[in-house]
Amino acid sequence: MAGFGIFITLLPLLYVLLRTSQIGYAHLADIIFSARTLELVANSLALTIAVSITSMILGTAQAWLCNRTDLPNKRLFQVGAVLPLAFPSYVLAFSWLAFNPSINGFFGAWLVLSISTAPFVFLAVTAALSRHNSSSEEVARTLGKTQLEVARGITWPAIRPAVLGASLLVSLYTLSDFGAVSLMRYDAFTRAIYNAYRASFDRNTAAALALVLILITLVLVGIQRRISQTEVTKSSEQYRHMVTRLGMWRKPAQLLLVVWFSIGVVIPISSISYWIFVGQSSANSGQVLRALLNTLSYGLVGGIVVSLIGLAIAIIVVRYVSRYIVQVEQSVYLTHALPGVVIALAFVFLVNQSVPALYQTSFLVIIAYIALFLPNALAVLKVPISQVPTGVEEVSRTLGSSPMQTIWRVIVPAARPGILSAGAFVALTVIKELPATLILRPTGIETLATRLWSATSVGSFGAGAPYALLLIIVAGIPALLVNREIKSPRNQSSLEPASNETLNQVKPHIGQTLSRAQAGGTSD
């Protein structure tokens, strides 16, 4: 099962490489070095850089203001900063277009993706700040340094890896986003690949463009790997934190947070609510209900299948780790960085060449979900599996259980609460998925996401509003809650501290896990 899952995950990458190798160098070079491709590269990079910088600045500022200053109602602002995570990027794009259709193109995509991604930076920096011990800052103050000097010399170096790591995650997210850029009609790579495929079923162009996108992605992944390796891990002791008095900056800081909250949460919600009232008649309640049921079925089946495969891999990786397996696991994460559009198209081409009967079947949709979300599932499932105390397997063996029985009698039941929340998280991620569902679903099957996408594409906001609202209610908000659940290490840790070896095995992945869990995996 684990092997099957890994195979499925690697399939799209292998396919794109094979496919482009068949095009022939001359033709490939023609496509890659055409003016059109260069324009796409420029567009995608411009958007990626703009979004990364915006969310880096805003997320870091939010994190610092909400954690280390004397700002009133910090808890409230902390919740507010995370709330945009409840909106898939295309739902945000919908809400802003519905608010004012002239907000589109680069500006629209930049706005929406900045809202979507600033929470990643906020969470990563908040975590880094709470890990960082303030006593070094206090010592610096006693040595005659000003607040500003301390912030630059002590605090910033401590949170820098988190800021940069999260910003790179944001750039990966932006690069692979399909929903927001296509609704905003901004010519980024993902939209161009989709259009190349839609317009002419032009496989060569789509595959070549995908290859370029993959290369850019891999460079970013490489940089991110390097940065996250240098991250300093501190002990989890509770530290006292120094609070900065904002003084006259208090009002402007408050204003900044309130304005950003309005842009990221208040306006989207108001816009969706407005269209639900105004455009009530244009949505067919039967259609809405069918789309909801389809969405839930895909979520349920996809969630269960992906989680089971993820569970198998997580158990092997965490409990029976070996060098070889770690490498296989890393390869799963590699595919994770691939945009959903690329993965979906790889499956289209692949199936059409080998088993055409599978094209546009729900089966293929589920297979694509495996490729898309297995890394997420693996990341969140590894946490509960690794929290099962060490040594229990061996005790179980001496008490007469075979390795297989031990997994079913000990590891799975002991990790059950964590496994269930991880499974729920995966199912919710599946529900929000757009590009693969859009491309691979059987004709006539519509989900909340595809309905919203079609309605927004033709500018019928009244028809789209109910789907946007439902997506937030059935997927966005629950995902936010489950994510909190997954991140808080409960009861288990008090039982027995895992031995150092296990901690060391698990540690490098925890950062990854959290960022991935927060990212909700692939963008929409």
Binding site: V395, L399, A414, E496
Partner: protein
């Protein structure tokens, strides 16, 4: 020693991990119903030895025979679940999702529910936790968890119980109390057990037999008393407790040292040069204004005291009774009580 009563026999066991040789040649036996402690420095292969016996590791050479049946050899290894061993790891490793009762009953799935419940009740009684059977592991104290872990291992009546530093994670006070309890539990259950530890006091106080593991082999095996009083070399003497080492030579059947002429336990050839190791408690300090030794330092423990004395043989440590220990600066004469171990230098 009758071979029939050996519950477990290890013969010439070898084990290495890659280039690192952990066990070079280990042989020993464990008598039915007895408790053997394996004492060795950290990282000396003690845990590997237990894991070989439990079947978690395969050996490179040699054999392990359990209850008359060979369970491990260089080309064969019975899996852990088919060995009938009980295993108590360092951190108890209770199944976190099961109550104390269900933890104990885990290895009893072959019994019907009546028999299983009876056995669980019997074991809860044995460990003195009858009222706590329904508690979840996270509600139990460290000592209670360790007791449940032992009951769980004893439940299926294992041929041999393996305890891997079971008290290491506990604080000192709890450790010594639990040690006594475990001794009582094991002897009441008539269990054959191996306990590994790096703590000399623990190894000596709980065991019927102590095996010292050194350089991948059993350096010495015997009763706690013989191990402590007659270590086979100076290094072991120092490893097992404080020891004053002075050089000497055999003259007229006695060991002539700067602390006087001492009586060796075993007789040696005349003129042999070597060292003697003397336990601090075997040194007696007699207050003597004309004595040649001076008290230079004192660690006072209440019931006794460790006194440093400057003698012609250098600084030596002597254990004295607390209330009558000599003051710093006092002149004393040093006497050695009883016979000593003499180790010829070659």
């Amino acid at each position: 020693m009758e071979p029939v009563t050996e519950k477990l026999i290890l013969s010439n066991v070898k084990k290495s991990f890659g280039q690192t040789s952990v066990l070079t040649n280990v042989s020993f036996g464990v008598t039915d119903g007895s408790l053997l402690t394996i004492l060795g420095a950290s990282g000396g292969g003690k845990t590997t030895l237990l894991r070989l016996i439990a079947g978690f590791e395969t050996l490179d050479a040699g054999s392990i025979v359990m209850n008359g049946r060979e369970v491990s050899s260089s080309n064969m290894s019975v899996p852990p679940e088919k060995r009938n061993v009980g295993f108590v790891p360092q951190e108890a490793a209770l199944f976190p999702h099961l109550s104390a009762k269900k933890n104990i009953g885990y290895g009893l799935s072959h019994l019907n529910s009546k028999a299983r419940n009876d056995r669980i009740a019997e074991l809860l009684d044995l460990i003195g936790m009858s009222e706590l059977g329904d508690s979840m592991p996270d509600k139990l104290s460290g000592g209670q968890r360790q007791r449940v872990a032992i009951a769980r291992a004893l439940a299926p009546n294992p041929d041999i119980l393996l305890l891997d530093e079971p008290f290491a994670a506990l604080d000192a006070q709890l450790r010594s109390r639990l040690r006594d309890d475990v001794r009582a539990i094991l002897s009441k259950a008539k269990a054959t057990a191996i306990l590994v530890t790096h703590d000399q006091e623990e190894a000596l106080s709980i065991a019927d037999q102590v095996a010292i593991l050194r350089d991948g082999t059993v350096a010495q095996i015997g009763s706690p008393r013989s191990i402590y009083s007659q270590p086979i070399d100076v290094e072991l003497a120092k490893f097992l407790g404080d020891a004053v080492v002075v050089s000497g030579v055999i003259q007229n059947g006695k060991v002539s040292t700067q602390l006087g002429d001492l009586i060796p336990i075993v007789s040696h050839a005349e003129g042999l040069v070597g060292q003697v190791a003397i336990r601090p408690e075997n040194l007696y300090l007699q207050p003597d204004p004309k004595g040649l030794a001076t008290v230079t330092a004192r660690q006072y423990f209440g019931h006794d005291a460790l006194v440093e004395v400057k003698t012609a043989a250098g600084i030596v440590k002597a254990r004295t009774s607390g209330p009558i220990s000599p003051e710093i600066g006092m002149r004393v004469t040093v006497w050695v009580r009883g016979s000593v171990n003499f180790y010829a230098t070659d």
